[in-house]
């Protein structure tokens, strides 16, 4: 069987690209062939992802399956819908444009058009799925193919609480909807009240240089010398950040899934998060979830508990491990395989009848 993956865009630090490459490794293990193509390709990704034209008519068999990873507006993908092959769409969710208009107009346009185009795509494919039930329901579907999360690839967690001053971590793009501004404010209040030597580490590629400069200026103004903003870390460096963290603070306003939550659980780092989008589904009972009305003061006090209460840390660690087990790669791989095989089977049956 051949499964061709189609991406809106591909890049070296892009979660969707990472997911597609992980799927490709699985397909290889199942002796399935196919190509991975994208409408927009960051040159740093190399030859692992081919341009969309590689799917030109004649280059793929009629019994092949197309797996569309939809994560951004890409007008060139419309042509893929016209191909006769069976199609599975996985929605990785698109951030509402309202978070970007002020800070990155190009991203805002892509998000606005992408959210408009997504239902059209979902209606045109054979099966529409989401990486979370939240994402799937946005498409009127209940098919969920979660993120293929391989905890072992992240490296081993530390066995004890990290030494040194309390370190609060957030991992995610430096983007308006991730609300690093609120993370900085909550952290700074916590630092002033409970831990003057605490550190905040924000890891994530910025949407643009201007936004990064604005966040750095805010950090320097509110918490000079206590906030580190970094990106482009190697997997080993990122694992090091996780091992030295005492708590993970996610105040994002929009998340389709949020892989760093599972990373935090894997490393045994207590999680404080806002229950938006797919977050409650991923965390289950393993995180401290804020209410939308809870301000900086409540964030600061929750940080103090998450860092300082040994019993709370132990329970969260135990529940986090259960969430990692719930998202083990084997059941996700089985769901993916069953969905694709069912699609291909329908095609074969229909082909036989026709």
């Amino acid at each position: 069987m051949n499964v061709h993956q189609v991406l809106s865009g591909a890049g070296p630090y892009d979660a969707v690209t990472t997911q597609a490459l992980a799927f490709r490794a699985l397909f290889g293990a199942w002796s399935w062939g196919g190509r991975d193509v994208a409408a927009e390709i960051d040159p740093r990704i190399g030859h692992r992802i081919a341009p969309l034209r590689a799917l030109a008519a004649g280059a793929i068999g009629s019994g092949d399956v197309l797996l569309i990873h939809y994560s951004a507006y890409a007008p060139k993908l419309r042509g893929v819908l016209e191909l006769p092959q069976r199609k599975l769409l996985i929605s990785h969710n698109i951030t509402p444009a309202r978070w970007f208009w002020d800070h990155d107009p190009q991203a805002a346009v892509v998000c606005a058009l992408g959210r408009k185009q997504l239902p059209e795509f979902a209606a045109a494919v054979d099966v529409a799925a989401g990486v979370s039930l939240y994402n799937a329901r946005e498409l009127g579907s209940d098919t969920v193919i979660p993120i293929l999360f391989d905890a072992t690839a992240l490296g081993a967690p530390a066995h004890e609480d990290p030494p040194g001053p309390p370190t609060i971590l957030f991992v995610g793009r430096l983007a308006p909807h991730k609300r690093q501004d609120a993370v900085i404010r909550g952290f700074e209040l916590y630092r002033r009240r409970h831990a003057p030597d605490a550190r905040l580490v924000l890891v994530g590629a910025p949407i643009n240089a201007r936004y990064e400069a604005a966040m750095r200026a805010l950090a320097d103004e509110l918490s000079p010398g206590h906030v580190t903003i970094e990106s482009g870390l190697t997997p080993e460096q990122l694992a090091g950040r996780w091992r030295s963290a005492h708590a993970f603070l996610c105040l994002s306003e929009h998340e389709g899934f949020c892989i760093p939550l599972l990373e935090a659980f894997h490393f045994g780092v207590p999680v404080i998060a806002r229950p938006v989008g797919g977050v409650p589904e991923v965390t289950g009972d393993a995180a401290l979830l804020l209410n939308g009305a809870d301000g900086d003061g409540v964030v600061a006090e929750l940080l103090a508990l998450a860092v300082g209460d040994a019993e709370l840390r132990a329970v969260l660690r135990e529940r986090g491990a259960a969430r990692v087990a719930a998202y083990a790669p084997e059941p996700t791989a089985r769901t993916l395989r069953a969905t694709i095989e069912a699609l291909a089977h329908v095609k074969l049956v229909t082909g036989g009848i026709g």
Binding site: R44, W99, L189, L288
Partner: protein, 113 residues
Amino acid sequence: MKPEEALGAARAAAARRDDALPPGMTIEPTERVSIEQLMEWAAIEPDPDLMRSTRRLGAPITWAKRQLVHVLRQYLRELQSQQTRFNLNVLIRLAELEDRVARLEQRERERRT
């Protein structure tokens, strides 16, 4: 402490505090873009610093791209001014229409009362 008790405890502790951070930059979503904001955006001014290369060792490519922008500046200014002219005129027309609709709605309300 159990996780289920943590949020309540944090809220109670926060309520006992009266300290707060000085107001600073806060990110808010743009729910509805005002005409004034649109007017500001209509006069397009791309930041040349955003012109860059994402390739490994992309600095020379970034430099070359910026040189190209510099060389083409006369043409790009023309392009910008034509686009801005169109944007602003559409917005002015939109603002006039909004005013007109508001006046008509007001008149209709007065007529009914």
